[in-house]
């Protein structure tokens, strides 16, 4: 059994016809990725509903994971964030629309608010209830950043837990001015040399990054260098490569409204999820 990347996993629930299915789903994810599962319910419920919930919980009890129910009140996002802090949650699972409508894009969905404010890792799932125990390809960002090694370590663990076949570490090379200004043959030659050098440099760095992890029979670890706008190309590549999961660093600053108006970085991926998205929150050691 591979080591699980997370301990405490939390997911929000609400009373709906899908309640039971959603809860089963969360249990399955937890069995693959963590040890404890917290259901967080925000808001009041009738007695009958509460009883119903407890019956389902009783059925869900398994030997390998612990399941807990938390009642919270108030604003849903704030309540979730509060309980994440209180119970030392390290992964929050949330459903998300693969693509946000124009209005939602500017107003922000709950999932997006969570991404912006949370202090733990977060898994955004585009198609709940479709979870299977295997996953073909995982794409991880390989950006030069102190958080990246930890993100990669988590991604490898997740890949092992999900029995993924391939893990691609991707670096996005933003062509700089000299590389873009190709007006004639001389400049083209120079631009290509510069690009070659840059690619070699980045490739060395990526190789160093993945060196602690070995390609095994089960999991092939690959690197790839993309050219284009940072934050955008990784999503595009995930789509082109038909990957099932994209793993990224958590944003350095809390994202605000202006970040959505002037799209950059993580916002490109958030506005149109190319696959499921795992945002890894790094813990400072």
């Amino acid at each position: 059994m591979p080591t699980k990347p997370f301990d405490n996993i939390a997911t929000a629930i609400a009373f709906s016809p899908n309640l039971e299915a959603n809860m089963h789903e969360s249990v399955r994810i937890t069995r693959m990725l963590g040890h404890k599962l917290f259901f967080i319910h925000v808001g009041e419920g009738t007695e009958a509903e509460k009883e119903n919930l407890h019956t389902i919980l009783a059925q869900l009890a398994t030997d390998d994971i612990e399941v807990k129910l938390i009642w919270e009140k108030g604003d849903i996002v704030e309540a979730l964030l509060r309980s994440c802090a209180d119970y030392a949650i390290d992964l929050l699972v949330a459903g998300a629309q693969p693509r946000e409508g124009l209005l939602r894009y500017y107003m922000g969905s709950i999932a997006r608010q969570l991404v912006r404010k949370t202090n733990c890792s977060i898994l955004l799932m585009t198609h709940p209830n479709k979870l299977q125990s295997r996953c073909g390809k995982i794409v991880v960002n390989g950006i030069a950043h102190p958080k990246t090694p930890q993100t990669l370590a988590v991604a490898v663990k997740v890949a092992n837990c999900l029995h993924a076949g391939e893990l691609i570490v991707v670096e996005e090379v933003v062509p700089d001015k000299a590389m873009e200004n190709v007006a004639d043959d001389k400049q083209l030659q120079r631009a290509n040399e510069m690009r070659k050098n840059k690619v070699n440099r980045e490739q060395d760095r990526l190789n160093g990054l993945v060196s602690p992890f070995e390609t095994t029979e089960e999991l092939r670890i690959d690197t790839k260098i993309l050219f284009g706008k940072r934050g955008y190309t990784i999503g595009h590549f995930t789509q082109t490569a038909c990957a099932d999961l994209l793993v990224m660093n958590s944003p350095d600053t809390k994202l605000g409204f202006l970040d959505r108006v002037f799209t950059h970085g993580l916002e490109y991926v958030l506005s149109e999820l190319p696959s499921d998205l795992l945002i890894v929150h790094s813990h400072e050691k």
């Binding site: 073909g136 083209l188 038909c242």
Partner: protein, 728 residues
Amino acid sequence: MKQWFQDLSPNLFSGFVVSLIALPLSLGLALASGAPPVAGIIAAIVGGLVISFLGGSYVGIAGPGNGLVVATLGAILALGDGDMVQGFLYTLAAIVVSGGVIFLLGLFKVGVVGDFFPSAAVQGMLAAIGLIIMSKQLHVMLGEINPVASSATELFALLPATLERLFIHAFEPLAWLTGLGSLLILVLHSFVKTGIVRKFPAPVLAVGYAILLNYLASIEVLPFPTLQAEYLIRLPENIVKQLATPDFSKAGEYTFFMAVFSLTFIATTESLLSIKAIDKLDPKRRRSNVNRELRAIGLATVVSGFMGGLNPVIAIARSSVNVNNGATWRSSNFFQAFFLAGFVLLFPSFLNRIPLPALAAILVFTGYRLASPQVFQKIASVGLEQLIIFSATLLATLFTDLITGIACGMLLTLLMQLNTKDRAAVILRNFFKPNTLLFLESSGQYHLSVRAFSNFTNYVRLKKRLDTLPTNAALVVDFSLCQFVDYSVLEHLGTYRDSFEKSGGNLEIIGLDDLTARTAHPLAPRKKPHRWLPNRNSRRQDAISTWFKERSWSFHEDEHVLRKKMLHFRYFADKQLDGLRNVAVLKEGEGEVWFADLDYSQGELLTKSYLHTSAVLLTFNFELPFFVLDKENVLHRTAVLAGWAAQTNLENFSDFTNNFKLKVENEEKIKEFFTWELVAFFEAHKPYHIESHDKQLLIFEKQRLATFPEFTQLINFATGLSKLLQNR
């Protein structure tokens, strides 16, 4: 500097030939613009001198342009309020300012604006320019020097009147004899493909004929009176002393601003289009530095404007003559200016003998080239939509002005692309977002993927990526994530394909198979099929089907036969086979070779992902041992599902075992099966993914559709393997 002297003689010669054509064209274009004839000559001389030293193109020729005729005439009429002479002086000021703007465009490297206009609209605008030039010059050619009308449409309406006057002999006979004769020479010359006549450029012959005719009349060989002064070119006696100077007193007015805008727009567009066209003609396959060229044009325009000349632009017709006469370097542009200056300064009296109807004939012919029925036919063959855009732009330009015309064309193109709800949503959502991804595939070719939609508005992003690639590289442009791709983009890509292929590279377009087009034209815009839009083959499909036909493969309409066979394979055990396309089959001995493009999907973790591949299926009449073979572990999952995940080592072939991952059901059988012949065969070819099942083999390369060269390699590999196995 070295190059200036390296190929001196061919460039000197071509410069001379071009100057012979440039002379009548410059005079004629200036006259058609409503400017004094010498203004055209000044533009050509200044343009040639400045741009040859500072420019970024290699074999382009500078001088007054066709497109600018309309813009300049419009400016003179609007600024002069009926006074052509004063209007010209105001226009010179506008020319100077437009030169400054063009220089800035080059300085801030926005030469790409030239790619921002839909192709059909640009073609419509050029055709309109052709018609506008013809509308005035037809009259002049027939002998009516000053038709009284204010617009192109009125001029066309006056044509019957002019013809009537021609038949009642109201004009001098020598005038229309000159005009029509010159036109005849130009037309006939275009049909002559070889021989000594071809050595002389047509405009030179036409002007020569006209001068000869007038000379014959003057020595009374011909029974006509010689042409009066009004029918002849009038150059100032001392050109250098009588230069016109710009009058800036209208600067700041709205009409002045509009004049600057349209002059800048047309000069830039015409130059950029010409540069693109010339780079295709350049025998040395060099890439012009567009922004540097724009800066040079801007400077030349400022100088030319101050000296009383028109906007110099890069002129395509003169440039192509230049290339045809062996030019290899910018020095040819310098020499054409040099010779032109020589003619004007040394033989001004000779120039004064050139009859206007001959120049008009040259312009009529040029105008006809821009708006000939072939141009309409070509655009109509692309599709009705493009024809509508083309015609609308043409009519709008004819009835209003150039800027309104092209704006109408752009707006109409955009509206037509927005006309369905799905497409409108895609465009609006992704309008400002980046949509290109470039990476190097492990096989060494570049993969350029385009997402959402690709049309004239976001072509600049695609172009940016394309321009950074060396043209001798192998490139796959993948549109499979696009909802639609428009005519402009496909046309531009066609140009890139040419330049890649000519310099030893390769540009393949994939992902258009799923998108369909209204017509069979290879550049017709492609979009998602729906009820009114039946499926239409892409270029790749055409290539593949021709390949099959030539080798007498038979096409299989009924894909279910193959589908059933495919589903036996364990590779598809955890996948959904959605569809097969381009299915063909060939009998190979006792067995068969099947080819198909497969669309399948994998419903794994939360998202469903769609995959495509081009695969070959081999059938035999004998049992094969079960195995999977590949290099990249793609088939590992398949082996796990089958229950034989361990890698098998073939003891005798250690190299093979190190390179390939072979997983088998029964080791004993496999050792018999993998003879040294077969191992050598695998080692000699690209690593493919291969799975065997009963009497069948499945072979594919990448998890994307194969480009045409990859397709032929795949088929060759498969047929080779089939033969090898059957002959044992």
